[in-house]
């Protein structure tokens, strides 16, 4: 008995050593590149630092400044103006596309590929092409409008039309990914449910409403969480589309962080804004997880 326990003790110790030894490389990398960086950025957010001269501790003044910063408010507003329609349209459109492309229609694979292709395209390339398409004078959109006798707006120059344009392009470039996830979700729903319900005389719409939608809710939930986080962090595509020489016609939060930190050398302030953004993302994700109990059905 005692021998056995000693043996298992040695074994446990050995397993313990091996276990930690094996995850050590991962944990060391994680600590250096994530934990230390995270903690350092938190510390930096309480300093004034231009990267070239040593940082100077300035207490809460970065965070106080955020509340009286008009450009921050504009960036926050723009970010939500893009995020809200983006999340709703993306998830809604993706679900619709997935249901259609899950049914037996001609050229199904072809359509799936076509809708998924933009996901594989670099955001900067996407943005550059769409920037030309939206060009007020030489772009095809305003060209078509002009034929119809309508003078098209300077799409990317004015805030309202720029938000519209950006949401369209985000939808175009991102819906394929969500569609693929929905397709996987759809194929996980057992066929029996549909067979049983059609025996009971349920219509196609009733099946969609009462079987498909509820059983897809875990997927919908996952995609909404991802979409909210992604929308709040929107940067490259909007940056390239709305950039105008030294200014930006549609500054978003992440652009503002980049602009303050790297273009204007205010790393302390930029880091403080980044922490506020992290706080916003945490709050939204927290509420999404709280609310999921009411509408997400796991089989």
């Amino acid at each position: 008995m005692s021998t056995a326990s000693r043996k298992s003790g040695t074994l446990a110790r050995s397993e313990f050593r091996w276990g930690y030894g094996l995850i050590a490389p991962m944990m060391i990398g994680f600590s250096i590149f994530f934990l230390v960086a995270l903690a350092a950025s938190f510390v930096i957010s309480f300093t004034r630092w231009d990267l070239l001269n040593p940082p100077v501790f300035n207490g809460l003044s970065n965070y106080r400044r955020i509340f009286s910063d008009d450009v921050f408010r504009t960036a926050l507003f723009n970010t939500f103006a893009i995020a809200v329609p983006n999340v709703i349209l993306r998830v809604g459109t993706a679900m619709g596309l997935a249901v259609v492309l899950n049914s037996k229609i001609a050229f199904r694979t072809f359509y799936r590929i076509v809708f998924f292709l933009p996901v594989l395209t670099m955001p900067v390339a996407t943005a550059t092409i769409w920037k030309w398409i939206f060009d007020p004078k030489y772009g095809p959109i305003n060209g078509v409008l002009a034929r119809a006798g309508i003078e098209g707006p300077s799409w990317l120059f004015h805030q309202n039309t720029a938000v519209f344009a950006v949401v369209v392009v985000l939808l175009w470039s991102g819906v394929g990914y969500d569609m693929i996830i929905f397709l996987a979700g759809l194929q996980a729903i057992p066929r029996d449910y549909y067979e049983a319900s059609s025996l009971d005389g349920a219509s196609g719409w009733q099946q969609f409403r009462d079987i498909t939608v509820p059983l897809l809710t875990p997927t919908t939930f996952f995609l909404s969480v991802i979409a909210v986080i992604g929308s709040l962090q929107v940067f490259d595509l909007v940056y390239v589309m709305t950039r105008l020489d030294q200014s930006n016609r549609l500054p978003t939060l992440v652009y503002y962080i980049y602009n303050k930190g790297f273009e204007e050398g205010q790393m302390g302030y930029a880091t403080a804004v980044a922490w506020v953004l992290l706080g916003l993302i945490l709050i939204f994700t927290f509420f999404q997880f709280r609310l999921q109990r009411r509408w997400v059905h796991y089989q």
């Binding site: 934990l35 230390v36 903690a39 350092a40 938190f42 510390v43 930096i44 309480f46 300093t47 004034r48 231009d50 990267l51 070239l52 001269n53 040593p54 940082p55 100077v56 501790f57 207490g59 920037k131 030309w132 939206f134 060009d135 007020p136 004078k137 030489y138 772009g139 300077s154 990317l156 120059f157 709305t242 950039r243 105008l244 020489d245 030294q246 200014s247 016609r249 790297f262 273009e263 204007e264 050398g265 205010q266």
Partner: protein, 439 residues
């Protein structure tokens, strides 16, 4: 220093964030808060085998730089130079973080706008010693170019190249309208008059293309009108207080309001120098000398571009800008780096700029070879412009104020800010940025 005491206490209070982070931060804070640039001490190069890095941003010029390095290898066989190319868009970000992280290039390109920033932060080695006897002769370079890289009485740059601004024009548009080409007699009134005549809305032709950059647009006219953006000690913006500046800004803005130049909304996806001017819908464009080669090559496609001096205002002036080689004060091989920087400023290396580069070599007397490569175009006007080129004001708090200036003046061009209050709006906004940069 008081601030340092506060720092320490601050970090003790923030102890919850973890000892490691605090230590990283505190180590970087332990450096002297006000570094004395001239206090950098270094040993002259002693001939041992070393490798140094050379930071540049233009891939188009890499081949020329490689030739310069090969020529240097013949003089200093034991110094190996490795090129580190970072595209312009990321260059400044990378440089900032690399200096902060203690991993910057030993020798690197620096533009004048950033020289005071890095020099005042103690990041550059003073290069006074490479000038004078046995080194570079200051008489060989235009004075403005030497001044570009001077800060607090010290020289920090080994001159590489410079650029000036002249008026590019599309001969075909002038011919079609039967209008005489621009020449050195032109003044503001003539420029405006011809711009109006050549603007043809029905056919989509603009008389002039004013790019949304100070360097290729409004700064030239501000300097020609004897105006300036900042006061003499660089502490405040004076675009409204200085009547000359205000007048020039409003004169330029009127071109946009009258539709004589593509507006900012059109330029958002079609920058004038890259698409609209080469595309043949713009008749005249003030532009940078390095664009000459690209525009000359367009003649093969039937777009005939020529160049004339900028029209003059109260006086002749244009923006002059330069690019120099500097040495990082944190380098482990300052001695070798200084040798390389010195070589780059001298005739052998400068001649390679004339024959391979796009900028004008800083070394006087080598312009001829640059001009030979532009045969058929009146590029001499760019060399002449160095006589009256004006160096922009570059404060130690960095170029952020220029972005604000650009952003605000663009609102005026777009008609979002009324032209009569534009100079004041710019002044207030730039002053806010300056206050922020120094806060």
């Amino acid at each position: 220093m008081v601030s340092r005491k506060i720092n320490r206490r601050g970090f003790v209070q923030a102890g919850a964030v973890g000892a490691a982070a605090a230590m990283v931060a505190r180590n970087s804070m332990a450096q002297d808060a006000t570094p004395d640039a001239t206090a950098v001490t270094w040993e002259p190069y002693n001939g041992e085998e070393v490798t140094i890095s050379y930071g540049i941003w233009d891939s188009a010029q890499q081949a020329g730089v490689e030739e310069q390095i090969a020529a240097f290898k013949e003089v200093q066989p034991n110094i190996t130079v490795e090129i580190q190319l970072t595209p312009w868009a990321d260059y400044w970000t990378k440089l900032q973080t690399a200096v902060a992280g203690g991993e910057a290039f030993d020798v690197f390109w620096l533009n004048s706008a950033n020289c005071p920033v890095y020099a005042s932060a103690g990041a550059l080695v003073p290069l006074d010693s490479i000038f004078g006897e046995g080194g570079l002769d200051p008489a060989n370079y235009p004075e403005q170019i030497l001044n570009l890289y001077s800060f607090d009485g010290h020289r920090y740059g080994s001159p590489r190249e410079y650029d000036t601004i002249a008026l590019y024009y599309n001969k075909d548009i002038f011919d079609a309208a039967g209008e005489a080409y621009p020449d050195d007699t032109w003044d503001w009134a003539k420029f405006r008059e011809v711009a109006e005549k050549l603007t043809d809305e029905a056919n989509g032709i603009y008389g002039v293309g004013l790019h949304l950059s100070g360097q290729e647009n409004y700064s030239n006219f501000v300097f020609q009108n004897e105006g300036q953006y900042l006061n003499d000690d660089l502490t405040a913006c004076v675009t409204a207080d200085n009547a000359n500046t205000a007048e020039a800004i409003q004169w330029v803005t009127q071109f946009y309001l009258d539709g004589l130049t593509p507006g900012p909304d059109v330029q958002q996806s079609n920058p004038v120098p890259d698409t609209l001017f080469p595309g043949g819908v713009v008749a005249m464009m003030p532009g940078l000398s390095p664009r000459a080669q690209t525009y000359l090559a367009l003649r093969e496609d039937g777009v005939n571009i020529e160049v004339a001096p900028l029209p003059q205002g109260k006086k002749r002036a244009c923006v002059m800008h330069g690019l120099g080689n500097v040495v990082w004060s944190g380098s482990k091989n300052i001695g070798a780096a200084v040798e390389f920087a010195k070589f780059l400023g001298d005739e052998t290396a400068e001649r390679l700029i004339a024959t391979t580069g796009i900028g004008l070599p800083a070394f006087k007397g080598l312009e001829g070879e640059w001009l030979t490569r532009l045969e058929g175009m009146n590029a001499q006007v760019f060399v002449d412009a160095s006589e009256y080129g004006v160096i922009p004001q570059d404060p130690t708090y960095g170029p952020a104020w220029q972005s604000t200036l650009g952003e605000e003046i663009t609102k005026g061009f777009a008609g979002e800010t009324a032209i009569d209050v534009l100079p004041q709006t710019i002044q207030d906004a730039v002053n806010a940025t300056i206050a922020e940069s120094q806060a």
